[in-house]
């Protein structure tokens, strides 16, 4: 039974793409206010999990459940999930030429019932962009069009900051960032969590311990071949860094599938 007290409750989730099974029974529970890291080898299905939870139409869910505060996410289209408070920071954000960031952000906030007056919106936007050290010119640039890798990641965090989700799924927000940018992004995530009065949960997909040192996750999950195979404290991330997945997955006992 899904636990309504739990922010995110994923149980036995299976998903396929083009009839190829990628997720093979994912179990994961994220309480309110917690940061959970998700680590795992390339191709293990981390981004697929992020897409499956946010409603990408390319993926078919074949079994299992996923609830946000007890609400079944799976029948909902992506826009409705976002309106419930699920946010995805994309590993590879798509460019949309011709659509300015400012128009897009306003449309997004309006869709989520978070519309501000033009003046309030600009004040908010200016503030959040300054926090993320983004140049004001990004406002009138087209969505992700010609953005560098690091600029795209900041723009994703900017959107999270403005939309104030319940659950932020951050798919490698740290990849390709220089050290200063990494701190800025991590600070952005921490501010969002703190600003939510300890309610926002984070599923942070990453390959690196570095961002975890800033963000101090409550739990680290290890993903392999489409499922969570181990969960533990932050020390797990350090062990991965030291030993690699192969070394570690040989040693750590997989979590039971019916957790």
């Amino acid at each position: 039974m899904p636990d309504p007290a739990m922010l995110l409750d994923v149980a036995g989730l299976h998903a396929t793409i083009d009839s190829k099974e990628i997720l093979k029974g994912v179990d994961m529970r994220i309480p309110h206010g917690e940061i959970h890291a998700l680590m795992g080898p390339n191709g293990s299905g981390k981004s697929t999990l992020a897409y499956a939870l946010t409603g990408h139409p390319k993926y078919q869910i074949t079994a299992g459940s996923a609830t946000l505060k007890g609400t079944d996410l799976l029948p909902l289209t992506a826009d409705l999930r976002a309106q419930l408070g699920v946010f995805l920071s994309f590993q590879h954000p798509t460019a949309i030429p011709g659509v300015t960031m400012v128009n897009f952000l306003r449309a997004a906030m309006r869709s989520q019932g978070k519309e501000l007056s033009a003046r309030e919106f600009l004040t908010r936007l200016t503030y959040e962009m300054a926090e993320l050290k983004m140049d004001e010119s990004f406002r009138s640039r087209y969505i992700n069009d010609g953005f560098s890798g690091g600029e795209k990641k900041r723009a994703e965090i900017l959107q999270m900051a403005l939309l104030q989700p319940q659950l932020a799924i951050l798919d490698e927000p740290d990849s390709g960032l220089d050290v200063d940018a990494l701190r800025i992004v991590a600070d952005g995530v921490r501010r969002a969590v703190e600003g939510s009065a300890g309610k926002m949960g984070v599923l942070l997909i990453t390959h690196y311990n570095r961002i975890l040192e800033y963000l101090r996750p409550d739990t680290v999950h290890i993903f392999s071949a489409g499922r969570v195979v181990a969960s533990g404290g932050p020390s797990l991330a350090k062990e991965i860094e030291a030993m690699g997945y192969e070394g570690l997955l040989g040693e750590v006992a997989p979590v039971s599938a019916s957790a």
């Binding site: 309106q83 798509t94 869709s111």
Partner: protein, 447 residues
């Protein structure tokens, strides 16, 4: 009104009446054009390359009424359009022309004070015959059935002449309005810029939005840019859903003349529009851009011509179209480089966004090059809305239809950015948004 309708059609009697009211040179031109019309075969999608994808076999022009009168529908579409112009370009000179042949000039004093001639085309045909003939001569009157029909039957229209070295201090907006079932309208625009002159010209083709009224709109715009003249030229086609719209916009450019043309096609049931730039003089430059949006069963055909004759001429064309439902877009664009046109630099590009599985877009950009030292290219693309773009927006809470609207607007953006007249862009923006809402079935409360 429940008066018994005795609708007259088009016949030689109407042409005789028109000729009788015209100066001699024009009368003989009308008669010759009617002669040509009567002998020319009607466009056939089997026989004529131009009409292969646009079938007007079912259009019988002769059953439309060329003498339709004034109506409240006509006057209200004029008033609404006039208000729209006033909202974005309060200082513009406005010429209102309609299917009855009325021509009203508004706010033209400043132009007149500069020596610019703004008047009805019938007046110009009498008082400025050489200028009108210079313009008319750029397009043979009897070569093609629709232009032949127009040449025999146009009732009245607008004429603008800018004298040498005069930069017109006001934009000229022309409203061509029509209304009512079975009306035939023949909008006429004639514009001559003398050497070193410049002007902004906006041409709006409008009729009530209803699909109930079936109209024939057959229009020709003759534009001549003499040496080093500069014209910013915008055309909007926002006719009702029951209109057959047949249009030729032909601009001739002499040496070093510059044209910036922008066309927006939103309306009509079926349109065939020729957008033509004849780069006759050395160093002439023509930049053409446009957008077209079609839904329901609309059929929009654009045929562009970039004809290079002079040396060192440049032309660009970008047309972006989006089609939905059962709508169809046909684009055929030719860059024609003559033997003498060395160092031509020309590009033609058409991109299509297909918004639903039954919508269709054909795109045939072509090059015909007879000079050896040229740089020419073409591009065409068609495809649906990108799934990843739609998902990206939806992942931010934006519903699918609104996501599509945002993506379509973004798709149009680079073409819109080339509209040479910001006031026109200001008029078009909200109109485009409303049309997108209708085509994407977005309720007003969500917009």
């Amino acid at each position: 009104m429940t008066q018994e309708a005795v609708v007259s059609g088009i016949d030689s009697g109407v042409v005789a009446t028109r000729a009788g009211a015209s100066p001699t040179w024009l009368a003989s031109r009308r008669r010759a054009a009617w002669e040509a019309f009567s002998t020319l075969p009607w466009p056939s999608s089997l026989r004529d390359e131009d009409w292969r994808r646009t079938d007007i076999a079912k259009l019988d022009p002769l059953r439309f009424d060329p003498d339709a009168g004034v109506s409240t529908e006509l006057d209200s579409v004029i008033a609404a359009t006039h208000d729209d112009i006033a909202a974005v370009a309060p200082d513009a000179a406005v010429i209102v022309c309609d299917h009855t042949g009325r021509v009203q000039l508004h706010n033209c004093d400043a132009l007149t004070a500069q020596g610019v001639i703004v008047c009805s085309l019938s007046e110009a045909a009498t008082r400025h015959r050489e200028l009108v003939e210079q313009a008319f001569d750029t397009l043979p009157a009897g070569q093609q059935p629709l232009t032949a029909l127009w040449n025999s039957l146009w009732r009245d229209g607008c004429f603008v002449y800018v004298p040498p070295s005069v930069a017109a201090n006001q934009p000229v907006w022309v409203i061509h309005a029509a209304a009512d079932d079975r009306t035939a309208t023949f909008p006429a625009t004639c514009c001559v810029l003398d050497a070193n002159a410049s002007l902004t010209l906006v041409e709006l083709h409008v009729s009530p939005a209803t699909a109930q009224a079936e109209l024939l709109s057959d229009t020709v715009s003759h534009v001549v840019l003499n040496r080093n003249a500069r014209l910013d030229y915008c055309v909007l086609q926002d006719l009702g859903q029951g209109v057959w719209h047949m249009a030729t916009h032909r601009v001739s450019l002499e040496a070093d003349a510059h044209l910036h043309f922008f066309g927006a096609t939103l309306g009509s049931k079926l349109q065939k529009a020729y957008w033509e730039a004849l780069l006759n003089g050395n160093g002439a430059e023509a930049h053409l851009a446009g957008i077209a949006l079609a839904g329901d069963r609309q059929h929009l055909d654009h045929q562009s011509l970039q004809a290079h004759k002079g040396t060192d001429t440049t032309s660009r064309l970008l047309l972006k179209t989006a089609v939905r439902d059962h709508a169809r877009s046909v684009y055929d664009g030719l860059i024609d480089v003559g033997r003498t046109a060395q160092r031509t630099d020309a590009y033609v590009q058409n991109r299509n966004l297909i918004l639903s599985p039954d919508a269709k877009a054909d795109s045939i950009p072509r090059l015909e090059i007879r000079a050896h030292d040229v740089r020419c290219g073409h591009g065409a693309a068609a495809g649906p809305v990108d799934d990843e773009q739609r998902f990206y927006l939806m992942a931010r809470g934006i519903p699918a239809e609104i996501a599509d609207r945002i993506i379509v607007r973004g798709f149009f953006e680079d073409a819109l950015g080339q509209a040479p007249c910001p006031e026109f862009a200001a008029l078009l923006g909200p109109l485009l948004d409303r049309r997108l809402d209708r085509i994407l079935h977005i309720g007003r409360q969500e917009s």
